[in-house]
Subunit: 370 residues, 2 copies
């Protein structure tokens, strides 16, 4: 699949302006990476207290359904990108009629829907968790024999960090679970006997060149990423396979920008794609401190038509999220050796809210496993 | 010397606001470092097109003589710092009556004047280049026997990158050179037979703790820094001596923040202090990419009462300034391996103007000397 952009990519050099949809920590870190390159950022967000507003050249507070505001925004920037996968399709279309939107809206629309995302991967011969679409009584009944129990029922669109999900332990729980999700289109995913979650943060430039950061291992608590270990302890075969999966997806989507691919490693050593994120990703935050070019800068480079940066890791790293009140531990964290502390400038430290992260650096080959 | 602040230092944590005087690339990189820590920045600058405005939460365009604007600014922030040593003393006084100003105005006022700066260093037993004050016909005549020729006549205040300087090759040129500098108070500095310029970027926290980055070697072209090599190839004795000089100065000034000390190494292996910069410094830019905590974050940590960060170098580095039109070479530079490209968001690429820099990283112990 090769899509054509509304407007061919011309490099956006220092002094140019990038429009970013979304003003959370990812938009904030994208804006900071863009600033390093001498690029200005304009942030578009419906939230008046968006953390990214604190570090950008211009910002707009408006809804994603506000066509006039979107058009004005598109005219004020050189290229448009986004920090989150749930950009409404209509908004992407309004913007892409006026400016290059990267990653391209077609890739975005496929990845936004869990069923089309997984079908797309499977169509490329990439192994995924077992899955089935549930959007009718008939598909509900057909799903169980394919997927089996236990399984997880997820809304096919929206939802993150475990929101919009129901666990289905026995066959008779499925109908009730779907009722619980208001019978919106859902995807039923089979439980996989996996040993761990891995991810690759990969990028593709406007010239079709690709570059991947090292395969990493992710550990979750309560469905929220807690720690990323870079690099993952893994065989050369596994690392190569993970990179091949990411590159196959990037090329098939005619993708420009950074993409994260979350994978399960099964007990018998296979990789199953769990989720694709069409954006910079929490499991790539370690690259800010352990690589010459971070995932954020890499994304900015790609969408601006710059050469991709070197993804070589100069240090091993362990990234730990600071959730809710944990952000208050900054005085102790700041005193640790070889540790980079990051706070996102968010106001209220609600339980489970991602307030910041710390990256601990280790000389190559010396990172502990815990 | 121990000075007392107008207001005792209380830590400024995430969510707090730092007021920065000056909106150039140093203010910009300070603001970006503050943002990493979840701190907001307000930038005060007389220049409407200040590069730092693009990355900060708030900014004020006003002159440093505008008392009302300064007072309003001080009330809007939690602590005040600056990116340049020529902050007018009156402005520092207005601000410090309302908020903690760090580094403290007393240190600033000593360092602002080349004669008092060098006298202060000498008073601590620190070797400097030979120097004498010229502020009258009598002192003009007394200076030559002390300093000798060739020498450099510099205005005692203001001036940078070779501006406000006259070379005096023979004794009879001195009077004319002083006329050329409009007979303002000047310092006559003897030429030193030095082999190279070295510098230490050092910091002192609100608790009196100090931390130094590795000694580096600086190479100039046309009085402007071209390249910094980190670390400098130097004996352990020389490195220790440089750190001791920096620490002695930090303590004597009761300093809080980052200070750079430029030194000459003489042919016989002695260190002579050439200049003290009461701020982050061009010769410390490599720390952004080669240390977990950069000089910019270190300065922010110090003035906000945080623990100082680890100054350990994880990589060797070579920093090269991009002057004037050289900034246009970003497509080639961005394609280099292990290279971090930095642009300052400045509009016009005037000849010799610092537009950005690149830092090339090397595994420890592998950096070439050129």
């Amino acid at each position: 699949m090769r899509t054509m952009d509304a407007e061919p990519m011309r490099p956006v050099g220092p002094g140019g302006t990038i429009g970013i949809l979304g003003g959370g920590q990812l938009g904030r870190m994208l804006a900071m990476a863009a600033a390093r390159l001498g690029l200005k950022c304009a942030i578009y967000s419906p939230e008046p207290e968006s953390p990214a507003f604190q570090v950008c050249d211009a910002h707009v507070v408006a809804n994603y359904s506000d066509t006039r505001a979107l058009e004005k925004f598109a005219r004020s920037v050189d290229v448009v990108t986004y920090e989150f996968e749930n950009v409404p399709g209509d908004a992407a279309n309004v913007l892409s009629a006026l400016k290059s939107v990267q990653p391209n809206p077609k890739a975005l629309s496929i990845i936004q829907d869990r069923f089309s995302e997984k079908s797309f991967a499977r169509g490329l011969g990439i192994a995924t968790t077992p899955f089935a679409l549930i959007d009718s009584q008939a598909s509900l009944e057909a799903a169980l024999p394919v997927v089996g129990v236990p399984a997880v029922l997820k809304t096919s669109r929206l939802g993150y960090d475990g929101k919009g999900q129901q666990i289905v332990r026995t066959a008779d729980q499925l109908a009730g679970a779907w009722d619980g999700l208001k019978r919106v289109p859902c995807i039923l995913e089979g439980f996989v006997d996996f040993t761990r979650e891995l991810s690759v943060v990969a990028a593709r430039g406007a010239d079709g060149q690709t570059a991947c950061y090292d395969l990493v291992e992710n550990r979750h608590e309560n469905h929220i990423l807690r720690t990323t270990l870079a690099p993952a302890k893994a065989s050369a075969r596994l690392k190569t396979e993970a990179v091949q999966i990411a590159e196959k997806l990037l090329d098939a989507f005619d993708y420009v920008g950074v993409m994260a691919v979350e994978m399960f490693e099964t007990r018998d050593g296979r990789l199953l794609v769990n989720e694709i994120a069409p954006r910079v990703h929490n499991s790539g935050h370690w690259t800010i401190d352990a690589c010459a070019v971070s995932q954020f800068e890499q994304h900015i480079r790609a969408v601006c038509g710059w050469p991709l940066g070197d993804t070589t890791r100069h240090s091993d790293a362990m990234m730990t999220n600071l959730l809710g009140e944990e952000a208050g531990s900054w005085p102790a964290l700041a005193a640790e050796p070889a540790t980079a502390v990051h706070h996102y400038g968010k106001g209220e430290a609600r339980a489970g809210r991602k307030m910041g992260h710390v990256t601990r650096l280790y000389p190559l080959g010396t990172r502990p496993e815990e």
